[in-house]
């Protein structure tokens, strides 16, 4: 079908039998979508595949390196796109080493604490912002946003001093608390977006029906915003898992997280590239497993729920 015939088809009155109607609807629908594309089909595919190639090549190279032996990685003669003989020794080295596993465990521990803290504090706060008007609410809301935007480097030194003085420096709590700096505002903003999507009348009806606030919140409201809590928790997880600067300055040997461990894994005989890349691939996995489930919320999470 080309565009000119669609244009004729459009104003035509709907025929009596339904089969014809659905075909017409389908045709006009397709025609209406066509101008969305600013380029021809060939050029579109070229842009798309070019970009995907750019996206995947570095990732592929890293996975490729993690399956090679160190000698093969550093062999300048054969920098092959495919490993000669695939070895899992690098992964075995990580999974068999208490040091590496310990740092993975450290990371999961403070990330888990951080997610729990953020969600527990953010749910009531977001409810307050979405349901009630009170003095200074708008300013408070914007101030929270600026905390998300504030550079971690600025807060690093005083945080070390503060946490040392209350005796939690170099513990998992220190990093978990510090990451609330940017994760808590994020969680509040995302949850506020989800909660504002639920009509206020629901609350009012429940209260008129004589439901207590606590019961309403647990039995009615929380189940409704479950997806919101999931998205907020995921993004708290993501940003806490990936943050390096604060995690690095608030921890020492005992609680060293995986991100810091990765920056220090330069052995006596130089870089152990095989193990280094294997650890990198392992660190990528949690995020990559989530991509499929979170794909429709990615824009929302990164845009603080403003899309």
């Amino acid at each position: 079908m080309n565009a000119s015939s669609d244009r004729i088809a459009l104003p035509a009155p709907a025929p009596a039998h339904t089969g014809m109607t659905s075909r017409l609807v389908r045709v006009t629908h397709r025609a209406a979508r066509a101008p969305l594309i600013a380029l021809g089909r060939g050029k579109r595919l070229l842009v798309l595949w070019g970009f995907f190639l750019f996206l995947l090549l570095p990732l592929y190279w890293m996975v490729n390196c993690s399956l090679k032996t160190n000698t093969e990685i550093q062999d300048s003669g054969s920098r092959g796109l495919v490993p000669h003989d695939i070895t899992l020794a690098n992964y075995a080295a990580i999974l068999g080493s208490g040091d590496w596993l310990g740092s993975f465990f450290n990371s999961f521990l403070y990330v888990g604490l951080n997610v729990a803290l953020c969600v527990i504090a953010a749910v009531p706060a977001a409810y307050a912002f979405s349901r009630w008007r009170f003095r200074g609410d708008k300013h408070l809301f914007f101030w929270l946003l600026t905390n998300r935007m504030a550079p971690g480097a600025v807060f690093m030194t005083p945080m070390i001093a503060l946490y040392s003085s209350i005796g939690i420096y170099d513990t998992h709590w220190a990093v978990a608390l510090a990451h609330c700096l940017f994760n808590l505002p994020l969680a509040i903003w995302i949850l506020e977006g989800f909660m504002s999507g639920i009509p206020k009348e629901l609350d009012e009806t429940a209260f008129i029906d004589g439901m207590g606030f606590g019961r309403f919140f647990r039995k009615v409201f929380l189940p409704l915003i479950k997806p919101g809590i999931g998205v907020a928790a995921f993004f708290c997880f993501l940003f806490s898992w990936t943050e390096l600067l604060l995690a690095k300055s608030l921890t020492e040997e005992a609680t060293m997280p995986i991100v810091v461990k990765l920056t220090t894994c330069c052995g006596a005989e130089g870089w152990d590239w095989g193990v280094f890349t294997a650890a990198g691939v392992l660190t990528m996995i949690p995020g990559m497993l989530m991509v499929f489930f979170i794909r429709n919320y990615i824009a929302k999470g990164f845009a603080m729920g403003r899309v």
Binding site: Q74, T263, I298
Partner: protein, 324 residues
């Protein structure tokens, strides 16, 4: 209701106070003191740290200085003068380095915005129409956003290192010697390429979310009017994407101002200090807390001003067109 609202906000406010308010006040306090590591007593120096950083000469205190010198024997005086000159030199170099870091930061932000926004928009317009194609594309595009930032740095480091990477031999075929460890130009464009790799998908996601909100009849109307592809893009698509595009600019500007992890792992700020951006520069000042705090305050001021300007523009756009 107000009391109940504050009660609900209490846990969040407590956490924010611990992590944002108290440290921020501490930074303000540090920035007014001369803190030398190992010396317990902090000396109040007013705005001296800011003067040093911004390269404004300190006001001379004519009454105090000569009186002190008379009591000292000349050898001591010479030694002190030498020390002071050295300190001044260090401060001057720090100040000019700070200026350089700000300059680099603005250039970097400008470059990545100039590449990521058009590229992201183009890719969003090129996304396939079929539903499985869209899903597959979104999943692929999501990968760089969801892998940890330090791994982003690592992926690019492994990819671009001249001894183990793929890029160097590929460029060698074209006769270009690629040396990111020693050549500032190579290091720069590698850092920019990494940021484009990492964050263009976000622009795509935002534009895609914006495109989905354009009602079909708009395109039908444009088609009936016989609008060309370019005219449709210019007059139908672009105006409706204003909000998401300004949001993309806001997010990318602020996040690129905070960039630390990726360049720290990819280039370590080098070669020399050619890829030392603001966060990295602040982190390098760890030894003199006073200067660090003063630099931090100026840095924070720049970030919040940018944030405020872009946020205001965004709010005005939403008020004009409440469709989104």
């Amino acid at each position: 209701m107000t009391n109940r609202a504050w009660l609900f906000l209490a846990p969040a406010l407590f956490l924010v106070a611990m992590n944002a308010f108290i440290p921020l006040m501490t930074v303000v306090n540090y920035s007014l003191h001369n803190l030398i590591p190992g010396v317990r007593e902090a000396e109040y120096v007013g705005l001296d740290n800011y003067r040093d950083v911004l390269h404004v000469p300190a006001e001379e205190d004519p009454a105090a200085a000569p009186a002190a010198e008379e009591e000292l024997d000349p050898e001591w005086a010479a030694w002190i003068a030498e020390g002071e000159a050295e300190m001044a030199e260090v401060e001057t170099s720090k100040a000019s380095e700070f200026g350089d870091a700000i300059g680099r930061q603005f250039l970097f932000t400008f470059l990545i915005l100039a590449i990521e926004i058009p590229l992201g928009l183009a890719v969003a317009l090129c996304l396939p129409r079929s539903s499985w194609g869209t899903t597959a594309s979104l999943v692929l595009l999501g990968i760089p956003l969801l892998i940890p930032w330090n791994i982003v740095g690592m992926v690019w480091r492994v990819f671009t290192r001249s001894d183990i990477g793929l890029l160097a031999p590929v460029f060698a075929i074209f006769g270009y010697e690629y040396q990111p460890a020693t050549s500032p130009v190579d290091a720069w464009w590698t850092t920019v390429a990494m940021d484009v790799w990492h964050w263009t998908p976000l622009v795509v996601f935002l534009c895609y979310a914006g495109l989905k909100t354009i009602p079909e009849p708009y395109f039908r109307a444009a088609e009936i009017d016989g609008a060309s592809r370019w005219a449709t893009f210019r007059h139908v698509i672009l105006p409706r994407l204003r909000y998401v595009l300004i949001l993309a600019v806001l997010l990318r500007t602020i996040d690129s101002f905070n960039i630390y992890t990726e360049p720290a792992i990819l280039t370590g700020g080098g070669p020399g200090s050619t890829t030392t951006f603001m966060s990295f520069f602040v982190n390098n000042l760890k030894d003199s807390k006073g200067l660090l705090a003063a630099v931090s305050m100026i840095y924070l001021f720049i970030v919040i001003m940018l944030c405020y300007v872009l946020f205001t523009i965004m709010q005005n756009l939403t008020r004009e067109k409440p469709a989104l």
